[in-house]
């Protein structure tokens, strides 16, 4: 299982498509930096099919005022959670 | 990587050739067999037929790929052009002691190979 990390918003960048193309059915996806916009209910549709495997970084949501606006299907993790995700994965692949 | 910084000059007959800090020709178009001989002298190398054919392989490599090769691709290019006996690192080490890819590129008038330390 790989952890894929996306730091660009699906509203402005097609990097999310590359991450999705690279994902195996058990891989996880973590949204960080501007990527956390993808956790909004209006944008989360880009990540359809990732239920239970889609995460967003709390600190980046918080700093952008988006913490309370996340779609319910997204699991919010803090930096410690990020570390846990990294440890649980064989490797991490960054998409930027 | 090719550098344009002039560090010193190599004198060949009446002419001066700009060299970068590592002794590579700043302007690779200035290369000539005489320049190669003078550069080789600095390395304590007397160029023989076996040296020249390697320098030619290097110049052909650069003309085709726009880059000076690291050791492995140099060995491969030499093997293809001059045969497997010569396409061995020991042969290149004997002709261009130390770091053959770098020394031979310098004598061939190429920039320093990018992909080796």
């Amino acid at each position: 299982m790989l952890l894929h990390v996306v730091n660009r918003s699906p509203a402005t960048s097609r990097v999310y498509q590359q991450a999705l193309a690279g994902m195996s059915p058990e891989d996880r996806l973590l949204l960080i930096e501007d990527g956390v916009q993808g956790a909004l209910p209006q944008l989360v549709r880009y990540y359809a099919g990732l239920e239970g495997r889609l995460f967003a970084l709390k600190e980046d949501l918080e700093s952008r005022g988006l913490l309370g606006r996340c779609d319910a299907s997204v699991q919010v993790v803090d930096v410690d959670g990020f570390v846990d995700l990294t440890e649980e994965a064989e490797r991490t692949v960054s998409w930027y | 990587m090719a550098t344009t910084a002039i560090y010193r000059y190599l004198a060949v007959d009446q002419d001066q050739y700009a060299l970068d800090p590592e002794g590579y020709l700043v302007n690779m178009n200035e290369w000539s067999p005489e320049v190669a001989k003078a550069l080789a002298e600095e390395e304590g190398i007397t160029l023989t037929e076996e040296h020249w054919e390697i320098l030619q392989v290097l110049r052909d490599f650069y003309a085709r790929y726009e880059m000076a090769p690291a050791m492995r691709p140099l060995v491969k290019a030499v093997a293809r052009t001059l045969g497997p006996e010569k396409g061995r690192s020991i042969h290149l080490m004997r002709l261009f002691p130390g770091s053959p890819a770098k020394v031979a590129a310098r004598l061939a008038g190429l920039p320093k190979p990018t992909h080796c330390l």
Partner: protein, 124 residues
């Protein structure tokens, strides 16, 4: 599906077009350095990175070198596994027979398998 690229050490993913930025060149440099040190390297062209493989590339308008000559050099560094995202090609209306080198086209599921199969993945 062949498994030969699964045993290479390093997968370098190239996602940028030639001339527009230095990303492509930097990715190729990383691949060449690894290969020069004896690592087995595979390249995966994704997204607009597939345009790096188009035939007939030229110097930039100011005479800037492109990357086509470097791609032709890959075989001299024993980089022979060239993978291309099938969707990246079709999105641009391209097909693999328009490319300058022999490549293996990857369906979405094959692409994901390739990523899982490498010990080290670098994205450029």
């Amino acid at each position: 599906m062949q498994e030969h690229h699964d045993d290479s050490d390093l997968l370098v993913i190239l996602r940028h077009a030639p001339h527009g930025s230095s990303w492509l060149r930097e990715g190729l440099d990383a691949a060449l350095v690894a290969a020069a040190f004896g690592r087995r390297v595979s390249l995966l062209f994704m997204g607009e990175g597939v345009t790096a493989l188009l035939r007939g590339q030229q110097l930039g308008p100011l005479g800037q070198k492109g990357t086509a000559a470097t791609l032709e050099m890959l075989e001299m560094y024993d980089i022979e596994t060239l993978l291309v995202e099938e969707q990246g090609l079709s999105r641009l209306g391209l097909s693999s027979d328009e490319l300058m080198l022999e490549v293996e086209c990857l369906s979405p599921s094959a692409l994901a398998r390739v990523l899982s199969g490498h010990r080290l993945v670098l994205t450029f």
